[in-house]
Amino acid sequence: MKEIREPTFLVLVALADGRRHGYGIIQDVERLSNGQTTLRAGTLYATLDRLTSEGHIEEAGEEIVDGRLRRYYRLTMRGSAMLESESKQRLAVSKEALRRLSRPSGRRPRLAPGFA
């Protein structure tokens, strides 16, 4: 399976619970990443274009609010399946990392022989 970059993953997560428009996605991505990832418009629309052309998201209506066009996007079945698969994989890796860290030797680096 193709590697999913972090911004793409966050966009998919932002759309997981329903349709969102561009600025809504930007806000949600920032919240999801605790402010670590800030999507700018060029990057956002490049990601949306790619996901649309790959069939992972689709347009879901548009409306005019305060004279500005809002176009909404939502996950397709294919996109949902990919997000689920990717999330499970990341969860498995995270669980494994926590399991290893919970071992007594996992919390600190071992000293090289001769330095103990």
């Binding site: 561009g22 700018r40 060029g42 956002l44 490049a46 649309t52 347009e59 066009l69």
Partner: protein, 326 residues
């Protein structure tokens, strides 16, 4: 707010027409919604981000567009071929008896060119071998470019008149862009490479004999060679800046730039040994296949540049875009 809106609207002209018709209002709406939360600096960054996205679409260099696919597909073979050609240059063109100007002298021809090529080969190999995000390599590449571009030319008294200089300067800069993890560092590498090109251009214009193509470039085709190389270097610097960093997108650039350049250098040096002869006579007794390859590859380079221009023409349609004109 109205001023901001007008400014942003103007910025959208960087996008192709079909894309702007489909997405323009939507992008503008998103920008205006987020405008109150942005500082001036952030607004500039957003503008830069939009410009990069728009240019990438116009150049046809997005990963799902033809230009991006061509770059991606031919890159790794290109890198390998270019590295092999550089090895040939070092071990055959520079060292074979009769090709070297004076094997006993200790000067630019015996020291600088092999050293530059060695640096380049090393850079290519290291970049292939090491993990992507390796700042030390990037720093080395940028430093090499700076030193070679700004320190050496005035000290050696004359401007070495061949394509290899472009290669020696451009490749480290491109490699620097390849390995640097941060966009700001890639900008630095780009600015350095462009500055070096400017310095070289100035030096070429002011060094005797002043010819259209610069010293050493003559003949019907040869005079255009530096300009083709400079244009290609600039094009690739920009393309790589906008493309997602992929290891093998670089190879295509190296193939298109390096092999013809190195082969041309070989031919030009041959012509220098026989001052009354043309470039083509100067290649006799050397590696004719390199010359044939040079012509073919220069044509490929020109064809590629033309192809990119056509694919990314300003009003090209965007594939797989809902609402695009098909």
């Amino acid at each position: 707010m109205r001023r901001t809106s007008r400014g942003l609207e103007r910025l959208l002209w960087v996008y192709p027409k079909t894309y702007r018709e489909h997405r323009g209002e939507e992008i503008l709406g998103t920008l205006l919604e987020s405008a109150p939360a942005r500082s001036t600096f952030e607004t500039l960054r957003v503008a830069g981000d939009l410009a990069a996205h728009g240019l990438r679409l116009r150049l046809g260099a997005a990963p799902d567009q033809a230009g991006g696919k061509v770059l991606g597909a031919a890159a790794l073979p290109g890198m390998t071929t270019a590295a092999a050609a550089a090895v040939v240059m070092v071990f055959f063109a520079q060292l074979l008896p009769g090709i070297h100007h004076d094997p006993t002298s200790f000067g630019p021809d015996t020291v600088i060119w092999p050293a530059l090529h060695a640096v380049w080969i090393l850079g290519a190999v290291v970049t292939l071998a090491v993990p992507r995000r390796t700042r030390a390599c990037a720093l080395t590449c940028v430093t090499t470019t700076l030193v070679v571009g700004f320190v050496l030319p005035p000290r050696i008294g004359y401007l070495p008149s061949d394509f290899a200089l472009f290669i020696a300067l451009a490749i480290p800069a491109l490699l620097a862009q390849r390995v640097t993890p941060r966009r700001s560092e890639r900008w630095l590498a780009l600015l350095v490479s462009l500055a070096v090109l400017a310095v070289l251009g100035y030096a070429a214009a002011n060094s005797p004999p002043a010819t259209f193509g610069g010293p050493g470039f003559y003949g019907a085709l040869g005079v255009f060679a530096p300009y083709v190389a400079a244009a290609a270097v600039t094009l690739f610097c920009c393309s790589f800046l906008f493309l997602t960093a992929r290891r093998w997108t670089y190879g295509m650039g190296l193939l298109l730039l390096s092999v013809p350049c190195i082969a041309y250098q070989s031919a030009v040096e041959g012509a220098f040994q026989q001052p009354t002869a043309t470039i083509w006579h100067g290649t006799m007794g050397r590696l004719p296949v390199m010359v044939v390859a040079a012509v073919i590859l220069v044509l490929i380079e020109l064809t590629f540049a033309l192809g990119v221009a056509l694919v990314g023409k300003w009003f090209s349609r965007i594939p797989n875009m809902p609402g695009a004109v098909h």
